[in-house]
Structure formats: structure tokens, C-alpha cells
């Protein structure tokens, strides 16, 4: 996929995107991978620890094999680099996510941000943009933060 989007439509849980090069289909898995990449890129570049964390999180959340999650992540990375408009289009998949999904996604994003040992302001800004874009409510974000702190700092 390498050109401006000509049309897009939601069919069930899949987003069908047409460009001059052909038609591609995206689902919630791709949306999650793309969203994590968008946030990890917030600091300027994806760090290896962030890449490894994204692979693990996608693998766990979607019950995928390691090679599958790696392939999904790199596909999302490449397609988003080729087509900067794609990220905005993927927002159309947000209605296919449940509140529970959204909370899990917010939690995954927080874990990716912290993966390289630094919580960059720019990454938190991207996080805020992303949660707004896919309609994650402040309450859901709070629950994700609670879970994040409970998992990473259980003594608090």
C-alpha cells in the first residue's frame, strides 16, 4: 500500500481501504499494533526495548505466536511509514473495540512507553492523542493507569 487512500469502509470488524495500488483489509489487531507504534515513535524513534515489549504484548493479548506478532508489528510499521494517512483511517475501527479492549490497549501503551526505562513527555502526548482518537474515556484511562501501577509497583 503506497498511495493516497481513495475510499474506505467498515465491514463488520474489518476496515477495507482502497488505494490506487489495490485494496487492503485491517482489523483491531492491526489497529493496536499501529497505535503502539505511533506512541513509541513519539520520542523520535522506536527503541529496541519498546519493539520487544510491543511484540510481547501483542503476542499475549491476541494469543499469537512470536513470529506472527513480529510480522504484524513490522507490517504495521511499514504500511504506516508508506502511507501516513493510514493512521487516521484506522480510527474507524474504534467502534469495534469494547471498553475492556480499550482499557487493555491503554495499559499496553503505558507499558510500551515505560519499556525503555524513560517516560518521555512526547510519548505521553502521543498517548493522550491516541486515546482521544479512538475514544477511550478518561475513566477507562484511569483504570488502565491503576492496573499499570498495580502490576509494576505492587507495593504502592
Amino acid at each position: 500500500m503506497s498511495d493516497t487512500i481513495k475510499s474506505k469502509r467498515l465491514e463488520g470488524t474489518h476496515l477495507i481501504v482502497e488505494t490506487k495500488d489495490g485494496t487492503n483489509t485491517y482489523d483491531a489487531k492491526f489497529l493496536v499494533a499501529a497505535l503502539l507504534i505511533y506512541i513509541a515513535r513519539g520520542s523520535g524513534q522506536i527503541e529496541p526495548e519498546e519493539a520487544a515489549k510491543m511484540i510481547d504484548l501483542i503476542e499475549d493479548h491476541f494469543h499469537m505466536q512470536g513470529a506472527e506478532s513480529l510480522e504484524l508489528l513490522t507490517r504495521a510499521m511499514t504500511e504506516m511509514a508508506e502511507n501516513p494517512e493510514l493512521g487516521q483511517s484506522l480510527v474507524d475501527l474504534a467502534p469495534t473495540l469494547s471498553e475492556s479492549d480499550k482499557e487493555d490497549i491503554a495499559l499496553m501503551a503505558l507499558k510500551v512507553i515505560a519499556a525503555d526505562g524513560r517516560r518521555e513527555v512526547a510519548e505521553m502526548e502521543k498517548f493522550n492523542e491516541a486515546v482521544q482518537a479512538i475514544g477511550i474515556s478518561p475513566d477507562t484511562v484511569h483504570r488502565a493507569f491503576d492496573r499499570y501501577f498495580a502490576e509494576t509497583m505492587p507495593g504502592l
Binding site: S2, I37, R41, G44, Q45, I46, E47, P48, E49, E50, A51, A52, I55, L70, E71, L73, T74, R75, M77, T78, A81, E82, D116, G117, R118
Partner: protein, 169 residues
């Protein structure tokens, strides 16, 4: 993958990992970027599979350089080519350019190469249009020499070598 991690001044060079390759892929956002780095045959748009194949991930020693904050700063490969330590696919992260990172990378790769292989020279190829890289290599003592007859792209690339003994001077 040969060669131990080398650390100096807080900068660390270590053998590249699979996660490094994923991060590395994100440094290339256009066909031109990839061609200057990996050559005209490098497939773009790439997939993980084509990227790994085109950098010969399974066959060549690959290294990642990290700055004192732990930021992935540069990547490079080395192997023995015609009795020389050959440096290949050298690249500095887009966010880290023009800060001398390339020189740090090459210095550390040369040290690893010396420890791995019995040779008296280093070599590398560079695209003629990659002026900043060419300047960097020349500043480190590399000189343009006759292009190997058995290699393609003589019309668009230079071949440079440098003796090891410059390090003692």
C-alpha cells in the same frame, strides 16, 4: 554472531538482537533511504522477511551502538572480505545524525573486527552521492582505491580501504 560487547565512555556496542532489527527498520521511510544504505537490490517496501534477507541477518555479524542514555544510535555489520575487515550497512539513527556518532560506530566496529579477524586493513563501500558519509570515512583515514572488479555498482559507489596501523599513530 561473534564479538563481545565493547563499552567506552558510556557508549555501548553489542551484537544486534531481533528487536534491534525491528527498531532499525523504522529508520528507513523511503526507497531512496534504503538504496543509499543497502544498495539498489535492497527490496522496498520491505517486510521483516525481505529486510532480514537483504541484510544477510543470518550470515553477517551485526552490531548496535547505544548512547549513554541507552538510545539506539547506530547499526553496522562486519565480515572478512578478501583478507580485509569489511564494514557494511553502517547507519546512524535519523535522530542522532551530525553528532559524531558515525565515527564512534566505525571506531568500535574496527576494534571488534581486529579482535575477530587476522587482517591488516579495513574496507567499505559508499554511494558516491553520500557526501557526509564519504567525509566521515576520509576523516578516519579511509582512502578511495580501485574498485574491485568482481563487484557491481562501480559506476555509483566508491571502494575505500584503511590500514590498521593508523591506530597506533
Amino acid at each position: 554472531m561473534g564479538g563481545a560487547a565493547v563499552s567506552d565512555d558510556g557508549w555501548i556496542l553489542r551484537p544486534a538482537t531481533a528487536a534491534d532489527i525491528v527498531a532499525l527498520m523504522d529508520w528507513f521511510r523511503s526507497k531512496e533511504d534504503v538504496e543509499i544504505w543497502g544498495g539498489p537490490e535492497f527490496v522496498y517496501p520491505f517486510t521483516l522477511e525481505t529486510f532480514r534477507r537483504d541484510i544477510r541477518w543470518e550470515r553477517i555479524n551485526s552490531y548496535s551502538l547505544f548512547d549513554p542514555r541507552g538510545t539506539f544510535a547506530a547499526f553496522g555489520q562486519l565480515y572478512l572480505r578478501k583478507q580485509r575487515v569489511h564494514l557494511a550497512r553502517l547507519v546512524v539513527a535519523p535522530t542522532m545524525r551530525r553528532r559524531g556518532v558515525g565515527k564512534r560506530l566505525i571506531g568500535r566496529l574496527m576494534a571488534v573486527g581486529r579482535s575477530l579477524y587476522a587482517s591488516s586493513e579495513y574496507s567499505l563501500f559508499v554511494f558516491r552521492g553520500n557526501v557526509s558519509a564519504l567525509e566521515c570515512y576520509r576523516s578516519l583515514g579511509f582512502e578511495v582505491v580501485d574498485y574491485p572488479q568482481d563487484m557491481p555498482h562501480a559506476d555509483v559507489c566508491y571502494f575505500l580501504t584503511r590500514p590498521h596501523e593508523l591506530e597506533e599513530k
